[in-house]
């Protein structure tokens, strides 16, 4: 099993994803520099968190024009394997149009790094098949622009196609404005594309995939990916 971790100038969770790809995905992990153009030999492509191009102008606005993104679009179209965009990775996927909507400034205009609860909205995706529907996971967020926004039609389509994969919720799993850390529409924390081979999420599963870090709920996502790739 081979996993690619794309590195843009300014990515800073690349090594974290590299370590997790080896330990949790049991994959042969490799870095792919943003100017390279061949992803076909990989079963998983991870678009890591960080501040690609310093988050200047808009998070992910410039990274989306890197050469590697053309081959990523091809990779997704030909359903070569799974793509997971974490935090800045999610922002880059929306800027590139691989996922709908946009990530705006947090509602309270502050960077926010803390553990939050997210509820599994769709347990039948390659990224959540090891979870039970409605299961609550505790996964940390760390972002300034996590406020997911899209127009009404897009939101309705996401709900209709069950593309909303995670919503911010309370300890007991209830979704309400009180448990929404950044103002995202309908507490959306993570979505997938219609083909279910691309997931974008703001929380960082790679930061809770090792007991020493105080949490292991990230394992649910990586073991789901491993499980779906084995079939």
């Amino acid at each position: 099993m081979k996993a690619a971790v794309i590195v843009f100038p300014g990515s800073n969770c690349d090594w974290d994803c590299y370590h997790t790809a080896k330990t949790s995905l049991k994959a042969k992990a490799e870095f792919v520099w943003h100017e390279e153009e061949n992803l076909n030999s990989y079963d998983v492509v991870i678009v890591p968190g960080g501040f690609s191009y310093g988050d200047y102008l808009r998070s992910g606005a410039i990274a989306r024009f890197s050469p590697v993104m053309n081959s990523l679009v091809e990779y997704v179209k030909k359903d070569k394997g799974l793509v997971i965009g974490i935090c800045n990775g999610f922002q880059i996927l929306t800027e590139a149009g691989l996922l709908p909507g946009a990530l705006q400034k947090n509602k309270y205009l502050k960077f926010l790094c803390k553990n939050v609860k997210i509820r599994v909205e769709n347990a039948r995706t390659p990224f959540t098949n090891k979870c039970k529907p409605g299961q609550v996971l505790e996964i940390p967020i760390a972002h300034f622009d996590g406020n997911y926004t899209a127009d009404k039609e897009t939101i309705e389509k996401l709900n209709r196609n069950k593309q909303v994969v995670f919503r911010y919720c309370s300890k007991s799993g209830s979704v309400s404005p009180a448990s929404n850390p950044n103002g995202s529409i309908e507490n959306i924390a993570g979505i997938c594309n219609e083909a279910r081979n691309v997931l974008g999420m703001m929380p960082h599963p790679e930061r809770v995939a090792d007991p020493i870090l105080g949490g292991e709920d990230g394992e649910y996502i990586f073991s789901s990916m491993l499980n779906s790739l084995k079939k």
């Binding site: 410039i62 709908p100 946009a102 947090n106 309270y108 205009l109 926004t149």
Partner: protein, 82 residues
Amino acid sequence: MYLVKVFVRHKKGILDPQGKTIKDALHAMKYKGVGEVKIGKLIDLKIEAKSIEDARSQVNDMCKKLLANPVVEQYTFEIEEI
């Protein structure tokens, strides 16, 4: 050489948390007369082009592709020869 001023604003209906926060702050500073406040981006750039039409079409292109995010933003710009 042309001098271009690009104004990038939120699309209608898209929430602008920054605008609201600044309005509240201005009210707290006793500027009661202040109504709606909206925050956008101002991009000044210089561009070499064969003609003003050529410059205009390039700037439109740049805005559509990079400078504005069509999902949540709209743009206008002013252009003058210098």
